[in-house]
């Protein structure tokens, strides 16, 4: 049995920032199913928010209000306040670690505009901000290699829980197929999101709900899974991200008639309204037949920005357009469409990174979560662009501090190694024993298709019910899937099957919570209930697995400074 003081699952921004904190005094393991440098945080392009005020006067108060309004008043305001207050410090710390940032003429960190932010607040490194921070943190882990052991290409299967305490994880080495138990005083999940359940998504193949479902499987609830963000600018058909920074720099959105249609939907902020609003506006235009050339896309026009500014500020995404669509945004418009991008919901935590097990905030001992897989909730019903990198860094650090505090005064808990291993080995065996009459590829495609069409930008009761039934049918089919590779060595097929199992479970939770929330708020829009309904739904959804099936309980929203108000832009 492997032993570490703390095991952190996931090596993106949240996981690595947490590791840097925890390794000051503890022996830390970081486990990733890819490599740290390949984590999906690296795909973030446009920036990381902080009220540095480097290009215009700004304040944490404004950042706080923008975040709460952007989240359609579902954010927990006490957490938001601490989060935006911490922002400038954590950015400076990243700079001190060596992170590379674009600069203002006087050498300060440059800042640009972003959707829903009333001030230019996005600190950036050209159009690869996530990449720059990810590599800076990875560099720091390499520097601290004595106290941080990185398990590259290891997969986390399940949590080891004893009563109200978490004692480790069961994992396997993808390269050799060996199953191992890691005993730890504390476990931190920083496992990212689950955008892969949708057909069109900006997410990496790795974003498959492994962490959130592992938590759910030991009886913990998930919070607000119905809130999924659709990003307005996914490259047409591929869904990969074309940064909001393009609009931050001044790009236009045009429908098939060449009109700047945002005039109708958000006249004061236009293209820089929050993502939920822009994505819905785009989908409305497409649904009304005003897509470009009758297709399911609209145009992003950067041409007026000029070659020089595009090459300086957006060089990487210009290249993406050329490589993936054969279109150079200096001379032509780019076809884009809404793409599933970010999970506002996840494993419920308090503002210190402790996972909680119910609507009253009861802590689970030794279990922490941070980043996209967690729901604090600072983003409420809709996250503003550049707030996610900030969340990962702020709450990664906080989880690290909480772990330090927790693990210092505690010994290892009980782990029955043989039993825990056997459970996971049986999971493998079950997959190999299936009769093979169904194709996992078809099941995955069907799941992605139905989630996109029935649980996407626009939802209604009828669609959601069909979606839920379809998903249940797919779960049955999943038990009969066909596997061709039964070897141990770098068997990517078996891991894809396990991931698909997690995604089917997650999709069902998203759709179930979406059906229950009979209102429209942030990223969740019900055409049959198009208004926000604070009287009945100003609360977080906590979805539990019970013997009677899925049950949703209410968790109240923490409101400190800003009473819910109408949300217009």
């Amino acid at each position: 049995m492997i032993q570490h003081d703390v095991v952190i699952v996931g090596a993106g921004l949240a996981g690595m920032r947490c590791a840097l904190e925890a390794c000051r005094e503890l022996d830390v393991a970081v486990l990733t199913k890819v490599y740290p440098s390949r984590s999906h945080s690296g795909a973030a392009q446009g920036g990381i928010a902080a009220s540095l005020g480097n290009s215009e006067p700004d304040s944490w108060e404004e950042h706080m209000y923008d975040t709460i309004k952007g989240g359609d008043f579902l954010s927990d305001q006490d957490a938001v306040e601490e989060y935006v207050k911490a922002a400038p410090r954590v950015i400076y710390e990243l700079e001190h670690m060596g992170c590379i940032f674009s600069r203002t003429p006087d050498g300060k960190i440059a800042q640009r505009s972003f959707g829903g932010h009333s001030k230019p607040r996005a600190c950036f490194s050209a159009d690869r901000t996530g990449h720059a921070i990810l590599h800076a943190l990875h560099e720091q882990l390499m520097k601290n290699a004595k106290s941080v052991k990185i398990y590259n290409e290891w997969y986390m299967h399940s949590l080891i829980v004893d009563g109200d305490r978490c004692n480790g994880v069961v994992v396997s080495n993808i390269q050799t197929g060996e199953v191992e138990v890691i005993q730890a005083k504390a476990v931190v999940f920083a496992t990212g999101g689950y955008g892969r359940v949708f057909k069109i998504t900006s997410n990496a193949f790795a974003s498959t709900a492994d962490g959130v479902m592992a938590a759910f499987e030991v009886g913990l609830p998930l919070e607000d899974p119905e809130f999924v963000q659709f990003h307005p600018s996914g490259l047409y058909r591929q869904g990969i991200l074309f940064s909001e920074a393009a609009r931050g720099e001044g790009a236009y959105l045009l429908n098939g008639n060449g009109e700047r249609f945002m005039e109708t939907y958000a006249p004061s902020r236009m293209e820089l309204a929050p993502r939920d609003i822009v994505a819905r506006a785009e989908q409305s235009e497409i649904d009304a037949g005003r897509g470009v050339d009758g297709e399911n896309c609209i145009n992003l026009d950067l041409r007026h920005l000029g070659k020089e500014r595009i090459m300086e500020r957006l060089p990487q995404i210009r290249q993406l357009g050329i490589d993936f669509l054969g279109i150079d945004c200096i001379t032509d418009c780019l076809p884009i469409q809404p793409t599933a991008h970010y999970s506002m919901g996840g494993i419920p935590t308090d503002k210190f990174g402790h996972v909680i097990s119910d609507e009253n905030g009861t802590r689970v001992n030794g279990f922490f979560a941070a980043g996209e897989c967690a729901c604090v909730s600072v983003h409420g019903g809709n996250r503003l662009g550049t707030n996610s990198l900030l969340e990962a860094v702020v709450f990664g650090e906080r989880a690290g501090k909480s772990v330090l505090e927790y693990a210092a005064g505690i010994d290892y808990g009980n782990v029955n190694e043989g039993q825990e291993k056997a459970k996971v080995l049986k999971k493998f065996e079950d997959v190999y024993q299936r009769d093979g009459s169904e194709s996992y590829n078809d099941i995955r495609d069907e799941m992605k298709e139905i989630m996109m069409s029935h649980c996407g930008v626009f939802r209604d009761e009828e669609k959601l019910k069909v979606c839920i039934e379809t998903l249940k049918g797919l779960q049955e089919k999943f038990k009969k899937g066909k596997v061709t590779d039964k070897g141990k060595l770098f068997n990517t097929e078996i891991y894809e099957v396990l991931e698909l199992g997690n995604m089917l479970g997650m999709a069902l939770l998203i759709a179930t919570a979406a059906l229950e929330r009979k209102e429209s708020r942030g990223g969740h829009f019900r055409t049959d209930f198009p208004k926000r309904d604070d009287a009945n739904f100003l609360h977080h959804s906590m979805i539990f697995d019970t013997p009677d099936g899925l049950v949703i309980k209410k968790k109240s929203v923490v409101i400190t400074k800003h009473q819910p108000a109408e949300r217009t832009y």
Partner: protein
Amino acid sequence: MATFRIKRFNPEKQPEPYFEEFQLDIPEGATLLDCMNLIKWTLDGSFSYRMSCRSAICGSCAVKANGHALLACQRQAAHIVDNDETVTLEPLGNMKPVKDLVVDFTPFWDKINKVKPYLEPKEAVPEKERRQSQEEFLKIDDSSTCIMCGACYSDCNVLEVDDNFLGPAALAKAQRFVGDSRDSQTLERVKALSDPGGIWDCTHCGECVERCPKPAKPFDRIKEIMTVALEQGVHNNNGARHAMSFFNSVKRSGNLNENRIPVESMGFFNIPGLLSLLPVGIRMFLKGKVPPIIHHSIDEMDDVKRIFKELDQ
């Protein structure tokens, strides 16, 4: 219908690799990675390779296609197939294959770790950010785009014959800090990088620049480190002496004094080094390959002088 000729390898089943062919209609707009996925998901689930982001930023899916390393997600499949509608896929080179297109990255990361790939700050940090000018930012902008995909490492000609070479990715990473105005260890770094296995072992073939899917372009970064090393006076090694000798020879005579360069590169007082040149010298003599003993300048020395004068300015 295109043919995907894929190098398969699974030592659990068979010790030797072999090629297997798959036929596939390339969907419109499909990337090479999309096609690999179609093969895996519809034709043979046991086909292994790495992938994650699909947007050329995570660096997972680097493979060799038709003999050259590239990112599978970054290329349109239709652009990769050759005239007879075939594409040959193999694992990256210079690393040990694990299974199919998956290789062992351990030596790659070991070498990244060797260059101290982290900032060693100059002074105690200020309360806010350190200032950095746009000019200073530009010096590390390109190297910071490296995604650690291993494409350069795979196709590096030096690594093919010399395991000890740090390789293009590690050297590009090194430049990220050599060029950083906030770093305190510039001299120590360029000294270490001038050791055997470092910058001077690069043969300037430029293959890494061709293969790099990002603006990191390792050889350009290697040249930048060389410049800093010479500026910092780190001359006491064969590579730097070779570069200086080359430079001085051209400056003096407009062409290379091939008798002088090997001696100057080794160092006049490096007796064992000079002796090690003898066997080569003798073989050259016996084959009649020794350059003329008396070295002549070229006729257009005025032009050469003018060029060097302009360079000096």
